[in-house]
Amino acid sequence: MPATFLHRFVLSIGFLSLFHSAYSAAQHRSYLRLNELDFTHLPLDIIIQALISLFVIMYGVMNVAGDFKEIKASAELENKSWETFRNIPSFYTFSHRGKFLAFPHQTGNKKHN
């Protein structure tokens, strides 16, 4: 499944939202410092925003990154047959029947009759 525009959009929204929650957390700390209050925990809305954007990013990444591979190691070989596997291009020889079966049309090759 190719990554659609929508998925890319969802991913960027997720990242923006995550940065926004980080920025809010930093601002919350500076607010506490100015008012000389002790830090106990972050406000609930920032935590919820961070968690939601995490899941949105996960959804976006899964759709943008491309197809998953099969977990079985042999899955890629499943549809290969010995006929193509035994064929090794670096050891091709050309002294075979190819020259007698060559194209009848085309070029000035001598015909071997």
């Binding site: 290969k80 047959s81 010995w82 596997f85 291009p89 670096s90 091709y92 050309f94 190819g98 194209f103």
Partner: protein
């Protein structure tokens, strides 16, 4: 343009799978590719190589020369392109000229495995299998992790009917690539060909392993069927073992039938019978 794209897609697939569809490739070159060389983009060099080999395969030297010229223009000092020049000589059966070029390549770059492999292929083309085996064994002393070379060595040993050594090469390949069902199947093929109860029992185990890795491998299923049938009818076997083998052969036959259930072939057993060489 859509046509060109689908051709490029197909060529890519054939390159990955090592399909030797030379005639089709040359046809594509004549009808579509030749007039669109400049539009091939990043794949241009790869496709030119592919067409060059296919043209040599079909004895179309003018096309091969054209591809070589294009490659030469892009990579004037490349050893890889020189190797294709050597292959052109090879296809014209001017083996001495080809060897001269390959020796030059090896002199410049001693670790050029491609050129060394071509020299072995030339020996093979000349029918000097024994020399080819010797060269390839020497090559494997240096490049021990070269799976292709091990596979080729095993094929060469098989042409010499030295099954023991061919089996050793496939064992080496299985170590490299234990998840490949085709290698297990190949090893079993060789062991079955060797004959003898022990070897056939070993073949049976390896066919089973191949089927375990890929239940769709019909060749391994058929191999299992004939191996177990051979065990079941062997005189030296205990009745317990015979019974097991009988069961396994029935299972294999059933599995083969299941594979072909959806393809409207009804007389599968007769067809299997026709495969017998008796």
């Amino acid at each position: 343009m859509a046509n060109l794209n689908s051709i490029l897609e197909r060529l890519r697939l054939w390159r990955e799978n090592n399909d030797r569809k030379s005639r089709k490739i040359v046809e594509y070159w004549i009808t579509e590719l030749e007039s669109n060389i400049q539009k091939l983009g990043r794949e241009k060099a790869l496709i030119l190589e592919q067409v060059c080999i296919a043209a040599l395969d079909c004895n179309e030297f003018t096309i091969a020369k054209k591809c070589l010229k294009e490659l030469h223009k892009d990579f004037p000092n490349s050893l890889r392109v020189r190797k294709y020049e050597a292959m052109l000589f090879e296809a014209q059966e001017k083996y001495e000229d080809a060897i001269k070029i390959l020796d030059d390549i090896i002199k410049v770059d001693e670790t050029n495995s491609g050129a060394k492999k071509r020299k072995i292929a030339i020996l093979k083309a000349q029918g000097k299998t024994v020399e080819a085996i010797k060269e390839l064994a020497d090559y494997l002393k240096i490049f021990m992790a070269d799976g292709e070379a091990w596979q080729e060595l095993s094929e060469l040993y098989i042409t010499e009917q030295d099954f023991q050594k061919a089996a050793f090469c496939v064992e080496e390949l299985i170590l490299h690539n234990p998840h490949n069902h085709l290698l297990h199947q190949r090893y079993a093929d060789i062991k079955y060909t060797q004959g003898g109860l022990e070897n056939i029992e070993l073949a049976r185990s390896y066919y089973c392993q191949a089927i375990k890795l890929n239940p769709k491998n019909v060749r391994a299923l058929y191999g299992l069927y004939i191996a177990t049938t051979a065990i079941a009818t062997s005189a030296k076997c205990s009745s317990q073992k015979k019974k097991e083998a009988q069961k396994l052969s029935e299972w294999a036959l059933n599995e083969i039938q299941n594979q072909y259930k959806h393809s409207n072939i009804d007389d599968i057993e007769d067809r299997l019978g026709a495969l017998q060489i008796n």
